[in-house]
């Protein structure tokens, strides 16, 4: 088991290194730099700026110094400063020394902000949105799938699968403006844009209060984002439930006179949900990383917007930081799901 986790972690590092490499190459293959504006800077000033951000170094030096700043922890006697070059995501005081780790560098175009600042303030918003969307997807998808499977080829089945098709066919850019217009403009029940929580966040990720003031902003975007994925969950639940209820042990459970509800809840559901668990990992990662359309439609100050603008601004550290962060999310949630999978289904062996 430990062996398995270790191997997976090493594999994760390889994946992340590759992702960083591809992103770095693509990003520098695009012509233009962060200082190219309509009005060009005087060459001397541009040279000074490039020197300050180490953009005049050879590319491989830039790449490896970036990687070392991000990955290698350091122990220094100097306390952290407010300089954006010197902003570490983890910086803890240990006696007379400071333990510092993960410096994603300064943002070049947003002055006086480091990439870590953007992570601290914008990532939690995307994270909250993605989590709420996942909860909504599960809350809609699982009952829908179970209902469809238990009434196979009857009207609830058609209804359920109809709703699922509706979900995949109404993407964020369709459903988003529609609901904003309906609930935000016509009925005026919910605010059309914005987000109900501001930094500092609880534990750096969660909103400080969960009242209506928070949810009135979150309801629409989380629903729009989660509804599409609920279709995936519903179809999967239905398919795996259909398979499970034909198994012998379900027949046995029925034969020994167990109440139908008991058969479904105890015996069928537990086994039918294993495939559902396996998709929640990638789904969660996809939801957290895929929030930026929703963020654009609903004017939510999340990470997604920064990514899109950072590309057109050639804000290299922000591009690298966001892509890496998203990739970490993806591989970590896959790993966690694989571990849960083995826990749920003891037949799975890690080797």
């Amino acid at each position: 088991m430990t062996n398995y986790i270790l191997r997976r972690l090493i594999y994760m590092l390889v994946v992340l290194f590759t992702v960083a490499g591809i992103t770095f190459i693509l990003m520098h293959a695009v012509p233009g730099g962060p200082f190219d504006k309509e009005k060009n800077l005087p060459p001397e000033i541009q040279a000074i700026k490039e020197k300050y951000y180490h953009l005049d170094d050879p590319l491989h030096v830039q790449f490896f110094s970036y990687l070392s700043l991000v990955t290698i922890p350091r122990l220094t006697s100097t306390p952290p400063t407010l300089n954006t070059n010197d902003d570490f995501l983890i910086s803890v005081k240990l006696g007379n020394y400071w333990f510092k780790w993960m410096n994603f560098g300064p943002s070049i175009t947003s002055r006086n902000r480091s990439v870590n600042d953007i992570f601290r303030e914008q990532l939690p918003v995307s994270f909250q949105l993605g989590t709420l969307a996942l909860l909504i997807a599960l809350a809609i998808g699982m009952p829908l799938g179970i209902m469809s499977a238990l009434n196979h080829n009857e009207w609830p089945d058609y209804l359920g699968m109809g709703v699922a098709t509706f979900g995949v066919s109404m993407p964020t850019i369709v459903l988003g403006p529609l609901l904003v217009w309906l609930f935000g403009v016509v009925l005026q029940w919910l605010p059309p844009t914005g987000w109900g929580a501001k930094p500092p966040f609880m534990f750096g990720l969660f909103p400080n209060s969960l009242g209506w003031e928070y949810f009135k902003y979150a309801v629409l975007p989380a629903f729009v984002l989660g509804f599409g994925s609920s279709a995936v969950i519903a179809r999967l639940t239905r398919a795996s439930m259909l398979q499970v209820i034909r198994e012998d042990y379900i027949r046995t459970a029925r034969a020994k006179g167990l109440h139908e509800r008991m058969v479904i809840m105890r015996h069928a559901l537990k086994n039918a949900l294993i495939p559902v668990v396996t998709v929640t990992g990638p789904l969660f990662a996809a939801l957290v990383t895929g929030t930026f359309v929703t963020e654009l439609v609903f004017g939510i100050p999340g990470l997604g917007r920064y990514f899109v603008t950072s590309i057109s601004n050639r804000d290299f550290p922000v591009i690298m930081g966001t892509v890496l962060l998203y990739a970490v999310f993806l591989v970590l949630s896959n790993l966690i799901v694989d571990l849960i999978y083995g826990f749920l289904d003891p037949r799975i062996r890690y080797n």
């Binding site: 850019i173 359309v293 990739a327």
Partner: protein, 346 residues
């Protein structure tokens, strides 16, 4: 319960004499076709797609105006019937009956733009799958066919690409294409590619981007299918009579794994359509003034409060198209995937 348990190898020229007097049965494809025709939702989807194809082909005849003709006097104009549907428009809207569903902020006819936008969405819907299918099938079949170390290495590459956040990758790629090939020197390769893309209104890069990011699932599926099919007796038989590798691959294996691939690809089409719409939505898609539903929704959303019709109609067009492809894909899956058969029988 099951009429046919396994797809038979289709009759290739070499098989004909042997089959000779066999009872003429319906082939898998004929059966699938019949099942598809019986599926009402799938047929509705298919008919709508057919209509959309016709609209795209005859856009010049259907659209009352050109998609780029501006008339600033009629900016944001709406016809009377729309002011009855959206009463909030009444106090300030410019009324003009010339535009069936209104005009955008530059006074371009919305209806004509939606009609021309069909071309963009359908081009992506039909060409995107071809690119991703070619890459995916080639990659997957090489990997599955050779097996062993080659297979292992090739699949690890796919694993790494899977960990790449898809939408981010395509945004990066688009930014790369857009700027690298924007103003290249005349005569270079980049120049000709850029010219070609400009002819397509910016669509070429979108399709390449979609093709480059969308093939991994196809490759995995192909590999799995090839691995299971290549152990079958008829492949051994083909090998015994001395068929070449490529003949076995294209004549014997590929036709037998086509079903699941078609299903997967059809179900991926709404995703491609959405990717284009999304890229246009954030401004990395087609070049203006080429109309794309995605960019129309983006423009319309900015004026959602004052002119809801500008976002709602293109959104409706996009939703209908995605519905049709989803219904057709679902129907194809029910018809073609033997394992899931039974969901259709009453």
């Amino acid at each position: 319960m099951k009429a046919i348990s396994k797809p038979k190898p289709p009759a290739s020229a070499a098989d004909q004499p042997i089959r000779g007097h066999a009872v003429k049965g319906r082939s898998l494809w004929q059966e699938a076709m019949q099942r598809l025709i019986r599926n009402r939702a799938a047929m509705t989807g298919g008919i709508i797609i057919l209509l959309l194809v016709l609209i795209a082909l005859f856009a010049d005849l259907i659209a009352p105006y050109s998609f780029e003709k501006q008339s600033l006097l009629n900016a944001n104009a709406v016809p009377t019937w729309l002011t009855n549907v959206f009463p909030s428009l009444k106090p300030y809207a410019v009324i003009s009956e010339e535009y069936p569903i209104g005009a955008d902020k530059l006074g371009r006819d919305l209806f004509s733009r939606i009609v021309y936008g069909t071309r963009v969405s359908l081009a992506v819907a039909f060409i995107g799958p071809v690119i991703s299918l070619i890459i995916g099938v080639l990659y997957g079949s090489i990997s599955g066919f050779f097996g062993g170390r080659v297979d292992n290495l090739m699949m690890r590459v796919v694993d790494v690409l899977y960990a790449f956040p898809g939408l981010l990758f395509i945004i990066l790629l688009m930014a790369f294409f857009r700027t690298t090939l924007a103003q290249p020197e005349e005569g270079t390769f980049a120049y000709y590619v850029g010219q070609l893309d400009a002819k397509f209104g910016g669509l070429l890069f979108i399709m390449i981007g979609i093709g480059l990011t969308g093939w991994e699932t196809q490759a995995r599926l192909t590999r799995g299918q090839v691995l299971s099919v290549r152990e079958k007796e008829y492949i051994e038989a083909a090998r015994a009579i001395g068929a070449s590798n490529s003949r076995i691959m294209f004549q014997h294996i590929l036709p037998n794994i086509l079903g699941p691939l078609i299903v997967l690809e059809t179900l991926a089409i709404p995703g491609y359509i959405y990717t284009e719409a999304f890229l246009s939505f954030i401004g990395l898609g087609v070049n203006p003034p080429t109309p794309s539903w995605g960019s129309m929704i983006a423009e319309g959303s900015r004026a959602l409060r004052s002119y809801p019709n500008q976002a709602l109609f293109p959104a409706l067009a996009l939703a209908i198209t995605m519905f049709s492809f989803n219904f057709l894909g679902d129907g194809l899956r029910d018809a073609l995937e033997p394992r899931l058969r039974g969901t259709q029988e009453k």
